[in-house]
């Protein structure tokens, strides 16, 4: 064990099971049923039974609580539970919570899950608050300084950030399109993806309606009903299980100085709106892993919008600041490029499980079982770094 405390967790835990439901626009199932189905699939994939699970980690925006799931799965002795948020910054940090629980002896096998009826239930693409609510904000939300002006959705925030990136660096819509097209091409190879049967061309992208200029329809991710889960345990225990372990090389959470309060709109007050906290998450994660962007073979990059990916490619060090546009247009995020991304199709084309399907796909790459497998992939980056503070994860083959 290293003398540096932040290195204590390096390669000491692994993801040993992955599970997911189908991804659809209308699951017809309750939140609890979705979570249970993904959990059972992940536990079975690991070669474990529910009786082996003693920890649960959830996302703060999930409708299902640890005791709901523990009861439904029939867990006999839940000794650890935890939650991370807000929202999309959670998944990699949720895996980190599992690592912390295992290495501190608070749990032996931890289930990490995310479920949502994101299309048939509560839709994140709609304005916040109840439809009949006229007075908005207050109580630390700061929404009162944004919503009355018609600044109502995450897509509108990222549209303003995209416009600023275009102003500062000359980024174009055609360049953003390459991110949508790359994710769609991976989804076309993935039978589980919502957009499996729907090819997308540059002409399709450019002809699609504008949602919030400069962002068009295909700059936006899907809204999805579905669930994902993974099982984390110690590397010693992982050796005896059914699947080859995806070693958790390192995990990190990170913020920036003066990140601004709230969940989303106040980020427009940050000193730079063409940078995300991804940059500081990257610095911490790479240091803990003893690896850098040049060591990463494939990446699952949080993609609520195309521009979110562009900013992260720069922040995570795959290209220089401001060069994300030419980088993606040159095919560097495609199979055979410098850093293939979102090999299941991502949020843009596989489904939106709020960052958790990126963790599942990251494990597939390490196992060599992705439908768009990167040959010889040994190191996979997973990012959960949209607007607020973020988290990241490096997975490695044993």
């Amino acid at each position: 064990m290293s003398a540096e405390p932040e290195l204590h967790h390096r390669d000491r835990c692994a993801i040993v099971g992955i599970g997911e439901t189908d991804y659809s626009r209308r699951s017809g199932r309750s939140d609890l049923t979705l979570a249970t189905q993904a959990a059972l699939a992940a536990i079975d994939d690991a070669g474990l039974t529910p009786a082996d699970i003693d920890g649960i980690v959830r996302c703060d925006m999930d409708a299902v609580r640890p005791n709901d799931l523990a009861h439904t799965l029939g867990l006999r002795d839940l000794t650890y539970w935890s939650e991370v948020g807000p929202g999309g910054v959670a998944p990699c940090a949720m895996v980190g919570q599992a690592v912390g629980a295992i290495l501190s002896g608070q749990a032996r096998a931890v289930l990490v899950f995310r479920e949502l009826n994101g299309r048939s239930g509560r839709r994140y693409g709609l304005a916040p608050g109840a439809a009949d609510e006229r007075r908005v904000g207050g109580s630390g939300t700061y929404d009162e300084l944004f919503a009355p002006y018609g600044m109502l959705t995450p897509g509108q925030i990222f549209a303003v950030m995209a416009r600023r990136h275009m102003i500062e660096f000359g980024t174009t819509s055609e360049q953003l399109a390459h991110i949508a097209l790359a994710c769609r091409a991976r989804a076309n190879a993935n039978p589980r993806a919502q957009m499996h049967d729907r090819p997308l061309s540059m002409d399709d992208y450019l002809a699609a309606r504008t949602i919030a200029d400069p962002l068009r329809l295909f700059d936006f991710c899907l809204e999805t009903d579905g669930a994902c889960a993974v099982v984390v345990t110690s590397v010693e225990r992982a050796r005896d299980l059914r699947r080859p372990p995806a070693l958790i090389r390192a995990v990190a959470q990170g913020s920036i100085p003066d990140p601004q309060p709230g969940i989303q709109f106040p980020v427009l007050m940050r000193e730079s709106i063409t940078e995300l906290p991804a940059k500081s998450v990257a610095a911490t994660l790479y240091r803990r892993a003893g690896l850098g962007p040049a060591d990463v073979d494939v990446a699952q990059v949080y993609d609520c919008f195309t521009i979110t990916v562009l900013l992260q490619l720069e922040d995570w060090g795959f290209c220089k600041k401001g060069e994300g546009g030419p980088f993606v247009a040159a095919g560097e995020i495609d199979l055979g490029g410098r850093i293939p991304i979102n090999t299941g199709g991502g949020h843009l084309s596989e489904g939106y499980i709020h960052g958790m399907n990126h963790v599942v796909e990251g494990v597939r790459q390490i196992r060599g079982t992705s439908t768009s497998q990167v040959p010889g992939a040994e190191v996979c980056l997973v990012t959960s770094t949209p607007l607020p503070p973020g988290s990241g994860l490096l997975l490695r083959a044993a």
């Binding site: 693409g125 904000g137 504008t210 000193e271």
Partner: protein
């Protein structure tokens, strides 16, 4: 349907809307060390003071970025409309504003504050091309 109204009596941000009702644009500053506290909050982590004040600013700025919303997500906000992000001239602070419709905008162009009275007594500082 009528536009959304701000909660304008929040303990941390209410002073901003109170000033707007007087026709003033203000930012929050620390009374101890004069640090800018934007978005408004009570505590200054620079000097540790809990004493703040509302400081008038000139009400001119430049256009930092914007979006033209073409897909409607709320019945009270018919599309198209434009949300502008304005950087103040005299202070390193930004505000958003609402312009109905589409506009021929360019980055860095001068913007001017005005005050929009909503029903129920609420007043919103708004921004338009100067």
């Amino acid at each position: 349907m009528e536009r959304l109204l701000p909660v304008d009596d929040d303990l941390d941000t209410g002073g901003f809307f109170a000033a707007a009702r007087r026709g003033e644009l203000v930012v929050r500053r620390c009374a101890g060390c004069d640090a800018l506290l934007h978005l408004p909050r009570a505590y200054c982590h620079t000097c540790g003071s809990w004493e703040g004040r509302w400081s008038p600013v000139v009400g001119t700025g430049t256009l930092h970025s914007w979006t033209v919303v073409e897909h409607q997500v709320h019945p009270a906000y018919p599309v198209p409309y434009t949300v502008v992000l304005v950087e103040l001239h005299d202070v390193a602070a930004r505000f958003v504003g609402h312009l109905p419709g589409r506009h021929d905008l360019r980055p860095g162009q001068p913007m001017q504050v005005w005050f929009e009275e909503l029903d129920d007594g609420a007043v919103l500082p708004q921004w338009a091309p100067a």
